[in-house]
Every structure is written in structure tokens, then in C-alpha cells.
């Protein structure tokens, strides 16, 4: 394999510091136009990911995580009203972030009258559910769970009635890394791998697939 030297300015292809085809992964995918993407995760998808630009200067590889788009996470919106009844009513509409109704949603809340200390309901196929609870001067945390989506928690005041729209984030997307710069000192650079020193001065070999 020819020695490329530190005059190289372009990286191309997928480089990983881990054995391939295990459960876990950690890799950069470099493009010749100076951009890269980064993924770290395992069976359930990314733990972290990033997009950015890189430069090879002298004996350094500089990774600028400057092209990552922040992740839109799950959210909810409330409509609220009060009345003089002894109970409150909570109406749920649960969707994915792209506004598709979510089926098989479990809506879970604390209830000291049950054996497990929790109670709840399963929404219908269109993500709709209705709860009637005793009016109380306290807050209640409600968990919205659905297979394939990240759990979402919200709090209500049990003095009021609510219409609640919940939008769930898909599972496995990971947390984006943004506005971070990593500068690696290059120890060795070849066509099929490069070795850098990490922040603890430990050598890390990144092998091309």
C-alpha cells in the first residue's frame, strides 16, 4: 500500500475504529467535497450522529460539526377549560411527528388505587383516547408510549379539562451533535487507514471499509 503522506487533503469513504458487523458501530463517512457524516450507535439505531465539514492540514484532521440540523423532538399542544363538575375530562389525539395518527398508544398515569400504582388506557387506531379523572388540586404526570416511538411525558393540572394533541418522535434517531470542533493529531495516514491521537493522547486507528 503506497504511503500517502500528510500532504493529503481529501478523505473518501467510510472509516471506523470498530470491528465491522458487531452490534455496535462508530464511523465517519467522508466525501471528497470536504463534508462528512458521523454515526455512533447499535441495534436500536444511532446514539449520536452529526454532519459537518473536515479539513486535513499539516498533521491535523479537523472535524467541524457545523452542518447538523437540530432534531425536532416530540411535543404537545393543550386546549384547556374549566367547569364546576367533580371530574375532569382529558381528550387525547396522538400522532407521529409527520401527523400520521398513532395506533396502539398506551396512556399511563399514576393511580394509587391500583395494584401497580399506575393506570391508563389504550388509544384507538386513530390515536384517540378519553380519560375521566377526579378533579383534584394537584398535578398529574402522563406518559404516552407507542411501539417504535420515543416515550413522551407531560403534566396537567387536575383542576382543568384538556384537549391534548401529542406528536411522537420515532425511536432510533439518536441525538445530533452540532457546533463542535474536534482536532485530531494525525500519526499515520495511508489509503486504507489513518491513525490519530485522541484528547487523551491515545492512538486510534480508523480503518477504511
Amino acid at each position: 500500500m503506497p504511503f500517502v503522506g500528510f500532504n493529503q487533503t481529501i478523505l473518501s469513504g467510510l472509516f471506523s475504529d470498530l470491528e465491522p458487523l458487531q452490534e455496535h458501530y462508530n464511523y465517519y463517512k467522508f466525501e471528497e467535497d470536504g463534508t462528512f457524516e458521523y454515526h455512533n450507535g447499535a441495534s436500536l439505531g444511532d446514539n449520536f450522529y452529526a454532519f459537518g465539514t473536515y479539513s486535513l492540514k499539516n498533521d491535523s484532521l479537523v472535524l467541524n460539526f457545523n452542518e447538523t440540523i437540530p432534531l425536532k423532538i416530540g411535543f404537545h399542544s393543550f386546549e384547556i377549560w374549566k367547569n364546576s363538575t367533580k371530574n375532569i375530562e382529558i381528550n387525547f389525539n396522538v400522532f407521529s411527528l409527520n401527523k400520521t395518527p398513532a395506533s396502539n398508544v398506551n396512556i399511563i398515569y399514576k393511580d394509587s388505587s391500583t395494584k401497580s400504582g399506575y393506570n391508563g388506557i389504550i388509544a384507538d387506531k386513530l390515536g384517540r383516547a378519553n380519560l375521566k379523572l377526579k378533579k383534584e388540586n394537584k398535578n398529574l404526570e402522563i406518559s404516552i408510549s407507542n411501539i417504535g416511538f420515543k416515550e413522551y411525558k407531560l403534566k396537567i393540572d387536575k383542576n382543568y379539562n384538556y384537549n391534548i394533541d401529542v406528536f411522537l418522535l420515532e425511536q432510533g434517531l439518536g441525538i445530533p451533535i452540532k457546533n463542535q470542533i474536534i482536532c485530531y493529531k494525525i500519526v499515520e495516514m495511508r489509503n486504507d487507514y489513518f491513525i490519530v491521537l485522541d484528547e487523551n493522547n491515545k492512538k486510534i486507528k480508523w480503518k477504511k471499509r
Partner: protein, 209 residues
């Protein structure tokens, strides 16, 4: 020989598959493709497992079977956490998952970290499922041989570690370190898993022909 007197309840993968077979609400999907993420052997999002084509082309049958069991457990944990009201006393299991996360300082129950750590409780069950599979469809095909309990037990630790490009452990789950305190024994287990994953000359499992 399997070191249990009563093992019928330990064929965990059969139990999970029967759970999906008997359900009118949930179905488990397993498929293969060349995924966007080329590095992991498989991924499971919700109740869908995708096996990496590159892994299927490389690994021994035994390795593929253990990965399918591993991913099936991910799907099971996804289901049990997200849909507690679909099971009798389903909140009890969910609360055990929450307690385990709290005890082990893990924030996100739907994360790779939690799933792999929690999965350590099923090592024997996964090993027994793999043993049963190998007797029937792998090593034992036609002659009822097996590779010995320790081999299946070792194979069941997949996902409990991260290895570098030289096959050395760079990190292990707390569960792996608790069950196998000796680091050289952990590395021996990893070597068995990598032999089967790469289907090299030390692999004991049968190959796809």
C-alpha cells in the same frame, strides 16, 4: 449438556415468537437488506428487525441465529415497555425496567445502553434458545450433536461489548463485567463471537452453503 433441571420455560425466543403469533394486534417482522448504516449486523426499530446483507453473507449460521434471537429480544423489550396494557400485569414488567434503569443510572429505557444491559438478565435464556436451535437446525442436524453449553453461553453475550478493529474489547456493559469478572475470560467470549461472526477457521457453527 445444559446445566438446568427445569429448562422448558427458558426457550425464550420460542416464547416471544408465540407471543407475536398469538397476538391480533402486534406482528414481528424480520427482513434483510443492505441498510443505510452498513456497519451493524442488524437493527430493530419497533417490531421490525433488519438483518444486514453483508453480515448474512459472512457469518456462520450459528452467529446469524444468535443475532436473530438478540434482535427478537430487542423487539420484545420495545413491546413490553411501550405497550404495558396489552399484557396482564404489564405495568409490573415496565416498572421493573424503570427500577433497573434507576438502579443502574441509565436515563433512557429505550436506548441501546439500557436494552443491552437489561438483556444480561436473559443470557441463560438466550443461550438455551440458541442451543435448541443448533441441535435442531445447525450442528445437531441429523445427529443430535451440540457444541457444549459453554459455547452457546458465550455466544449469548453479543451486544454486551464493543470491540476495536483488532478484535479487542474497548468497552463492556456492566452486566458483562458482573457476570464475567475476569477480563481475559471476557476476551475469550468475544473471540468466540467474532470467530462465528466472521465465520473463520475457528468457527464451530455450520455455514450457509
Amino acid at each position: 449438556m445444559v446445566p438446568f433441571d427445569s429448562i422448558t420455560e427458558l426457550n425464550f425466543s420460542e416464547y416471544i415468537l408465540s407471543l407475536f403469533n398469538d397476538s391480533n394486534t402486534f406482528s414481528y417482522t424480520i427482513q434483510n437488506s443492505t441498510p443505510d448504516n452498513p456497519e451493524a449486523n442488524a437493527s430493530t426499530l419497533g417490531l421490525t428487525t433488519t438483518m444486514n446483507d453483508n453480515y448474512l453473507a459472512t457469518a456462520s449460521n450459528l452467529s446469524i441465529a444468535r443475532t436473530m434471537i438478540h434482535e427478537l429480544v430487542h423487539a420484545y423489550l420495545n413491546l413490553r415497555y411501550s405497550s404495558p396494557f396489552s399484557f396482564d400485569n404489564g405495568m409490573d414488567f415496565r416498572l421493573k425496567m424503570e427500577q433497573y434503569a434507576q438502579d443502574n443510572g441509565i436515563q433512557d429505557i429505550q436506548s441501546n445502553e439500557f436494552h443491552h444491559d437489561f438483556m444480561g438478565q436473559y443470557i441463560n435464556a438466550i443461550a438455551y434458545s440458541l442451543y435448541e436451535w443448533d441441535k435442531e437446525y445447525g450442528t445437531g442436524l441429523g445427529n443430535n450433536d451440540d457444541l457444549g453449553w459453554d459455547y452457546y453461553y458465550a455466544m449469548s453475550f453479543s451486544g454486551q461489548f464493543v470491540v476495536d478493529i483488532n478484535g479487542n474489547i474497548v468497552s463492556s456493559s456492566d452486566t458483562f463485567e458482573a457476570l464475567v469478572p475476569n477480563s481475559s475470560e471476557r476476551q475469550q467470549i468475544v473471540n468466540i463471537i467474532l470467530n462465528e461472526q466472521n465465520n473463520n477457521s475457528d468457527a464451530q457453527g455450520t455455514s450457509c452453503d
